[in-house]
Subunit: 202 residues, 2 copies
Amino acid sequence: MTRINARLPKTKVGEKSFKKIIKAGKYLYGKAGYNSTSINDIIARAKVAAGTFYIYFDSKLALYLYLLDEYGHNIRRLAAEATKDCKNRYEIERAGLKAFIMYVKKDPLAYKLVWESLFVDPEIFRNYYMNFAESYTKHLIPYVEIGEIRDDIDLETVSYILMGISNFVGLQIVFNDKSTEKDIDFVVDESMKLLKNGIFNQ
Amino acid sequence: MTRINARLPKTKVGEKSFKKIIKAGKYLYGKAGYNSTSINDIIARAKVAAGTFYIYFDSKLALYLYLLDEYGHNIRRLAAEATKDCKNRYEIERAGLKAFIMYVKKDPLAYKLVWESLFVDPEIFRNYYMNFAESYTKHLIPYVEIGEIRDDIDLETVSYILMGISNFVGLQIVFNDKSTEKDIDFVVDESMKLLKNGIFNQ
DNA sequence: AATAAATATGAATAATTGTTCATATTTGAT
DNA sequence: ATCAAATATGAACAATTATTCATATTTATT
């Protein structure tokens, strides 16, 4: 897997510096945001000199893009892992939703990283979600064909709705500092009720 | 209605400058984002001197908070207006969703304003959505009591889900430069199908 | 017409920004 | 042990930042 946006280190000493920068950048970009975080902040936290930063990254933006890319891979790997033994689409949605919320609960900084792309470069944000929606839609099609999902509903819209649910129910959990896995299971169950039967009485 | 975060003008000349600043700020904060927009950018676009800006606003942040407040009022007023003749909860959700998406299509800049608060000050963001969710939940309760909404589903989670749907289906429309009111009606209808019956076959 | 309040101006300020570069040190292969 | 490549350093740079303030003009009231 080739990683763009970075010059990877070639010695163990370099790797240590590289990792320190990554860690500091992830923390600060996630916490204070991209624009509010200065290179000075990053190198101070990473405890490296200014020049060291530029050995591995061309710019402040390059580090952000590197981290965003890393997050994208994490999320995809996690989703694949969490749903690999599921035997129907209902279970896939349930497991995927839970895995996502568990992840954002554990690492809310990475969560903010994606949203912030809207302000770093709107095109990054747009691409991120459009690609995600396109991929989601494709994965849903077979389940319409085997009859698990209704055939009278637009799958692109469904994809955006499912992303919206994940993200905002994720917020609900992140907002509550004391939320536990039990709370996550609860909101996932409630969400699945809606996906199963809607919210209205017939 | 008392407006904080600003010293309102007292003459017609002052009002003109004030409005120019508001307009420029709305455009630039929405387009480039809060952190990427400088006071220089704002006063250049508004065609006022630097000092003039500080006659009406204490700081760059004060202008942002003023605009955020204005957006909040707009959204609430719009939602009340759009749903005032609805005769059941289903119609309220439909009309509210459509009004929201119409608004973000017309004024995507205001849309970004709220999301950016997460990076201007996370507490603002948190308050915005927690208040919104709380208010949403309260409005749903009577409809459970009269039997329009299921009584076996958690209303707080439903509120976050409905916010998620609005925001992400809104994105779907905003992403497509060519989307029309017809497209908005379409995605609203699809969303309502989901709220009515879920996405799975029984 | 007189006058106080409101408004406008823009040069100046001090702080911070991302980035560069000449120099020094360390690493790993020979 | 040698030496080129890799890595580390931090002072220096030019650009940009948000904000202030002394001065000037305009407005509304008397």
